[in-house]
């Protein structure tokens, strides 16, 4: 069972690479913001998975709650900035 979760963990970590490609090579700045959003969602899932693998779910799910809240603040700040400044 632990091997199964490790495999899932590995696959998701590789999938983050696709989003990272979008963040680094994105033609516009908005692609980067979208990629960051996708990465943070993946990171929340990854943290929950790490909690399952280490059998300390109670600690790791707390960090993922923190991630989710912070992600909202950061993304809204970026979007507000881009609306006011226009395309860089």
């Amino acid at each position: 069972m632990k091997i199964f979760f490790l495999c899932i963990l590995l696959i998701i970590a590789v999938l983050i690479g696709a989003y990272l490609y979008r963040v680094i090579r994105g033609p516009t700045i908005f692609d980067r913001v979208l990629g960051l959003n996708g990465i943070s969602t993946k990171a929340i899932i990854l943290l929950a998975l790490i909690g399952i693998v280490f059998e300390r779910m109670d600690m790791f799910i707390d960090i993922s709650t923190g991630y989710a809240l912070l992600n909202l603040v950061g993304a809204l700040a970026v979007a507000k900035y881009l609306e006011q400044k226009g395309l860089p």
């Binding site: 490790l6 963040v23 943070s40 790490i50 960090i63 923190g66 991630y67 950061g74 900035y81």
Partner: protein, 176 residues
Amino acid sequence: MTIAVEIVLLILLLVTAAGAILVKDLMSAILLLGTYSFFLSLVWAWLGAVDVAFVEAVVGAGLATVLFLVTLFGTAPKDSRLRRPPPPIAALFALPLLGILLLYAANDLPEFGDPNSPASSHISPIYLENSFQDSHTPNVVTSVLMDYRSLDTMVETVVIFTAGIACALLLRRKAS
């Protein structure tokens, strides 16, 4: 299997760091730094340092990104030195040499999680035994950070506070 996860996370970390250095636009560099903090926090969580991961996520991904953005509000959004001069040749030789030296020195460090290493045979038991009597805090990491190393933490807070004041000053100058 666990090694593979670590390798993938570290590769993602390296690619993000390289991208943050090489990208031309300051805004994209900020976003890449936020991504870097996410990955670093994942690495900390994978190593079992949950509190450090939490701090990294809060300060690195949340607070630092917002502070950088507020700074960009008040200053020029373009990097003025788009054409960077090439690095001197001495640096090209000296930096890999330094890296090799550091890797060689890292060989002598104790193994990760080694119960016989000095850190876990001398320091950790004292903290674990005495922290509750000393500070009455159920979380050991919190008592170490906030009581035993409170000066260090206070100066870190001063750094963040100074950054916040600077951002407020930049915003006020723009408004007037």
